[in-house]
Amino acid sequence: MQTLAQMMLYAVLAVTSENLIFTGGIGFSRVLRAARRPKTALAYSGLVCAFTLASAALGIWFGRTAPAGGWAAAARPVLFACGTAAVYLAAAFVWRTWWPKFYKKVEPFLSSSAINSVVLSMPFLRRVFFLGPWQMIGYALGTGAAFLFASAALSQAMGRMRNPDMPQAFQGLPAVFLYVGILSLAFFGFTGGRLF
């Protein structure tokens, strides 16, 4: 029961009050890319979830083995990024060799989902290094869910951001900027000015 509550808390934390994608504006560019292919969004966020989990585990292992100290703390994000790169390489290699069919499906967004997991976990890095295993799963699920919501909302919006009644200068990307701007304004009801 306790672990379940913890998981929920982490998921809710990631999705709403500290929803990185909107209130922080992070990882947004990749969400935009994903939003152009609405059907892949689900697989995409699943991969983000898996990569977050794997790289968080790796990061924790690094954190335990590497010496604590000023220099190591500064290099933590670097270590984390390298860890994710390693996870990505391993995953890509395994899938390429043994499940080429599956690899073909996920190939277009495999690398960007790996990079995304780096982006999304960066602000929580200090916390990520001290997570328990259950918390970690909750955190990964929350990241995936947040990513899914963001890309779903955007993919719906993208279609409507090109209509002939719009001023020509605003068609496409500028309107999307405004859309996301107002959407992140909406999240202010929860967070106020608080960021991280």
Binding site: G159, R160, R162, N163, D165
Partner: protein, 412 residues
């Protein structure tokens, strides 16, 4: 599962002014252009230019359509293609009427209730269903094939202004009942009803009482009434069919007196006309004559068939056909259509009797140049009742979008 939202729209009827008076018979005009449906080649026509025809003599005899008889005696001036009031054009025999030319004596065929006989007679008498313009004999044949077991006289008149069906029912109650029996026998239906848009309205306008009032079935007072009516019967496990009341009345005359269908009842109303009347006119009477009889202005624009699905009549020479039903005269100060973008009120979906989402189809068509046919849900079910366009507060025509979507879906 019966949906709570049955679709359809309630409209102000505007019938009482017309229904106050009895049906008025318009005298034969100088020149009539009798439509000859299905008779494109001279082989299928029985007359040529210059012939003098007696009243009730045969004008055409196509294989796949009804035979047409001359509504009035006179001299044939020629065969011309004329605009059809509802849609397209139709070949017409233009006749200069002459009272001096006599008529063929009619005799009752004196027949029993043999299905084949009835069907043959309805073909020979040139009877056309006034609601959809399909010849009665074809309809009866199809009903027999489909094993229709619930047959109703179509007196719906669910559009505002239109009340020709109700007027015919009011004045020919016994005939309609008798012929309903015959038609039912012809297609093998066991239950016979009178379908009206709203029971109360029918009782009030058509003064129905007694045996007929037990036969009434109501469509709920909405436009369009028939989808709901038929669906209700289907839910009870019946196979329903509808036959126009004017066609039944014409069949009565054909059976009793041997007279072919040479006239039809047309409602002339609308704010542009001074008098609102139900007129019995000969087939082929120019629309201008009807408008003049009701005091419409010279260059008035009228809508024939139905104010909701019908077409605009611009040429006063346009002949009246069996499926004309009504002429609604537009007032001179009728406003133009004001168009806004779709605001998403969802009314079109709420009134759709076939549960299509017209706004959704319209958006799909607008956003994608090549929409995915899979995503055009239910577009092919459209019954072209135009109810969505009637209620749209933005003044758009979702019905057109649905039609286009259905076309795309059909092409795949």
């Amino acid at each position: 599962m019966i949906s709570i939202f049955s679709g359809g729209v309630r409209l102000e009827q505007k019938k009482s002014r017309t229904m106050k008076n009895r049906i008025e018979t318009l005298p034969a005009p100088k020149i009539i252009a009798v439509p000859l449906p299905g008779a494109q080649t001279s082989a299928q026509r029985c007359v040529r230019e210059g012939d003098v025809v007696l009243r009730y003599s045969q004008l055409s005899m196509p294989i796949r359509n009804v035979a047409v008889c001359a509504p009035a005696g006179g001299k044939v001036l020629g065969i011309r293609a004329m605009p059809h009031p509802v849609s397209g054009t139709v070949d017409c025999a233009v006749i200069e009427t002459d009272e001096a030319v006599g008529e063929i004596r009619l005799e009752s065929p004196g027949m029993g209730a043999e299905p084949d006989e009835i069907i043959r007679l309805s073909a020979a008498a040139g009877i056309i269903d006034e609601y959809d313009g399909i010849p009665l004999f074809k309809k009866l044949k199809r009903f027999r094939r489909l094993k229709i077991d619930w047959l109703a006289a179509n007196v719906l008149d669910d559009e505002p202004y239109v009340c020709s069906g109700l007027a015919v029912l009011k004045e020919n109650r016994a005939a309609v009942r008798a012929e309903l029996e015959l038609a039912a026998a012809a297609c093998g239906a066991s239950e016979r009803k009178i379908a009206v848009a709203s029971e109360m309205r029918a009782r009030h306008y058509a003064r129905i009482s007694g045996a007929e009032s037990d036969m009434l079935v109501s469509g709920g007072g909405i436009y369009p009434a028939w989808p709901r009516l038929l669906r209700e019967q289907q839910l009870h496990g019946r196979r329903p069919g509808l036959i126009g009341v004017q066609a039944l009345a014409a069949l009565y005359e054909a059976v009793e007196q041997g007279r072919p269908q040479v006239s039809t009842v047309v409602t002339v109303s609308g704010e542009g006309a001074k008098e609102w009347k139900n007129l019995r006119v000969l087939l082929g009477t120019p629309v201008g004559e009807l408008l003049a009889a009701c005091g419409a202005e010279k260059d008035a624009v009228a809508v024939a068939g139905s104010p909701i699905t019908g077409g605009m009549v611009t040429d006063p020479e346009t002949p009246v056909t069996a499926d004309t039903r009504c002429l609604v005269v537009l007032p001179a100060d009728a406003p133009e259509k004001k168009v806004f973008p779709c605001i998403g009120c969802g009314r079109c979906a709420r009134v759709c009797p076939m549960r299509i989402l017209p706004w959704y189809l319209q958006r799909q068509l607008q956003e994608n140049r090549y929409p995915d046919p899979q995503k055009l849900y239910r577009a092919e079910k459209c019954c072209r009742c135009n109810a969505c366009s009637v209620v749209c507060p933005s003044g758009l025509s979702p019905a057109e979008a649905v039609a286009r979507a259905a076309e795309i879906k059909e092409r795949g």
